[in-house]
Symmetry: C2
Subunit: 417 residues, 2 copies
């Protein structure tokens, strides 16, 4: 597949999407389960292909953290297989009647959930995305049109070959999974401009990839954006609960988008709360930077710049601000929020209700860790990313977000007068 | 407002959106009803402002059909007022709990409907769009950030001034309606690139406007696209019903996107059906063009080119094709469909079910006219356009399509392990 032209792949994607759109759930689930089995049976070859990619990355002087994301081993392939089996166990969203009613003239109007068609996924070095994204696309009746990075090409070719074999074994078109073998930047640009082919483009990667999409894409896309997530500790908060939540939100996995980056504390409890939470955080290796009022309480920490409050560190670092009241807390969060996940710790019903209504984010969390904002934790079963835009999908994107709807109208000869 | 810079308007749009997002339904409805009253009370001034636009367009040699769309009179202002009152009577989508459940760890997860925020509308010469779009945006809690054409500027300024006054009278920010007074192309480009300001852009206009958006927009948008709509008459169709539907779909209002442009007929009934339906259509002034097989039955009609089958005429012209069977009918429709509205006339359950499943369009209609695919006719109350894309909105866009959702998560101190 690596030598096929983008035009040829695009044509085949559209053709396969017509078949997949009306495929039975049983066939799609069989393909997912075959994929899981075949990934495990071919684990040796996949790891071998991956080792070529890893060796090339190492000799190119790639950063160890990037190589870690690129590397596959038996455990990671097992995770990929488990993920596909979990998707097979989810309910099929296609065909669900979302809404229906009868018009005064007798027309029956239904809105029925249908696949998007061709879902384009453009991603960086993690080869597991090949299997994770393809599994979700398939279950929702979509063709997965994949464009991974050049650094992971051998891994992605090996994985997609297995997935295509599984589709064929289930009686479905192998072209339900298509990997773009030409990993040049020019082809990436052409890929994001395949209007009439790609119904939805999902980028999985960093700021440079998102910027490329915003500049060049002419197909519809959903951005998986940054998470500059706040925890606001209200004056009425249970301070023990607040400590646990702040430490968990910051430290349980600092490199992910739902990790907290900023702590906002009500002035009335800052004197009591900041010393204890900062000692917890420092114990976990967190570097704190703060505004003037927090530094008056914690003299050891450095001053936070304006830029700090706007930064998603994705590391053991956290900005701290002290605010006069709920209004100031909401203003601060609204000002610096990236619209991902924002939390309040409070025992005051009015404060909770105002925070929930007035903070505009994909998820607003009351008295729990921001780390729960994730497809699995919120009950979606699996996710293909977390949208920080408001159009089409907001928050974790699961199977439903990989579908559209169509109107179906039944009459008995009605005409419009 | 006409002299304010785009940056200033953008800043004010974002500020007003925070207030409108949490405004009570009663206040929003009051603003809509005040708007209707004030439009009628100021009808004289609005018509006067409009006559300036019309006079300028006439001396610029603008086509009469364009001037007709530009012109306002008492009846059109009454329609605008009626439209605003109808929107006031619709249910408020904001705050609706779309879905909710409890996770095994006790977290309560809800998805709540929220406004999009700032909705950008960029449109051509119809000044009624100023009022229609603003009304729907307001009811859904959004700021209407409007950029009309230079030809309609005086009309749009007069209408938006009235709407702003009504917002103030209802205790809401006047900046809930903002009209861009600088109608240069350069400002239009800047407008569609207001990332972080415009949450959703809706173009209302022709192909040139859509092409500009696709090329330059960096904000999320929903395209109101073409309707190359088909009526397929199956061999099992009630031919009298099929005649009525074809004639209604083609001739009841040929200039709109849900009018039929192409007739596809099963070969088994073509000999009987085509002569009668063509005589009906010709009586209504319709020019037919056909493929070889239809011309064997209707020798008087001209040959249809490949381009004809792909053309949305928006006029009294229709292409005709004869097909061997349902498969060929579906293939033909899928090949030329613009994804708007496609109809089948049949009495065969299996044919109806296959057509509904396999034709990928915003609306699939069985035994009724394509002309019903419209927000009002399908029960949405009002529409801001008809989306032919699959992301976010598909088919008529009503109030719901002017909203997003947010996750709200309630805990009692849960942390992620």
């Amino acid at each position: 597949m690596s030598r096929d032209s983008l035009e040829d792949l695009a044509r085949r994607a559209v053709a396969a999407s017509r078949v997949l759109a009306i495929a039975r759930t049983a066939a799609k689930d069989a393909a997912l389960l075959h994929s899981a089995d075949l990934l495990l049976m071919n684990a040796g070859e996949i790891v071998e292909a991956n080792s070529t990619d890893v060796a090339a990355a190492e000799s190119a002087g790639t950063a160890p953290s990037v190589i870690d994301r690129l590397r596959l081993d038996g455990a990671r392939i097992q995770q990929m297989a488990d993920g596909l089996r979990a998707v097979a166990a989810l309910a099929d969203p296609v065909g669900q009647v979302v809404e229906g009613h009868v018009r005064p003239n007798g027309l029956v109007v239904e809105r029925v959930r249908v696949p998007l068609g061709v879902v384009g996924v453009i991603y960086e070095n993690r080869p597991n995305v090949t299997s994770d994204a393809a599994g979700l696309c398939l279950k929702a009746g979509n063709v997965a049109f994949l464009r991974g990075s050049s650094a992971a090409l051998q891994s992605n070719l090996a994985i997609s070959a297995v997935l295509r074999q599984a589709l064929g074994k289930a009686g479905l078109p192998e072209d339900g999974v298509l990997l773009v073998g030409d990993t040049s930047h020019e082809t990436a640009r052409q890929f994001v401009q395949l209007r009439g082919v790609i119904d939805c483009l999902i980028p999985r990667g960093g700021a440079a990839l998102v910027a490329m999409i915003r500049e060049h894409a002419t197909v519809p896309y959903v951005i998986d954006g940054d998470g500059n997530c706040h925890v606001y500790v209200d004056r009425s908060a249970d301070l023990d609960m607040a400590r646990r939540i702040v430490v968990n939100a910051k430290t349980s996995r600092p490199s992910v988008c739902n990790a907290a980056e900023s702590l906002v504390v009500h002035a009335e409890i800052a004197d009591r709360f900041l010393p204890v939470v900062s000692s917890d955080l420092v114990e976990h290796g967190v570097e704190l930077v703060g505004d003037e009022r927090s530094r008056a309480i914690l003299p050891a920490i450095a001053a936070a710049t304006e830029e700090d409050f706007g930064t998603e560190y994705l590391a053991l670092k956290m900005s701290v601000a002290v605010v006069d009241d709920l209004d100031a807390a909401i203003d601060h969060v609204v000002r610096y929020s990236s619209g991902h996940s924002e939390a309040i710790v409070t025992s005051d019903l009015g404060a909770a209700r105002r925070f929930v209504r007035e903070v505009d984010a994909a998820a607003v969390v009351v008295n729990a860790s921001t780390r729960f904002v994730d497809g699995g934790e919120l009950g979606l079963g699996a996710e293909v990313g977390i949208s920080t835009q408001k159009l089409h999908a907001r928050g974790p994107m699961g199977l439903t977000e990989l579908t559209s709807v169509k109107y179906v109208v039944y009459g008995e000869g009605q005409i419009r007068t």
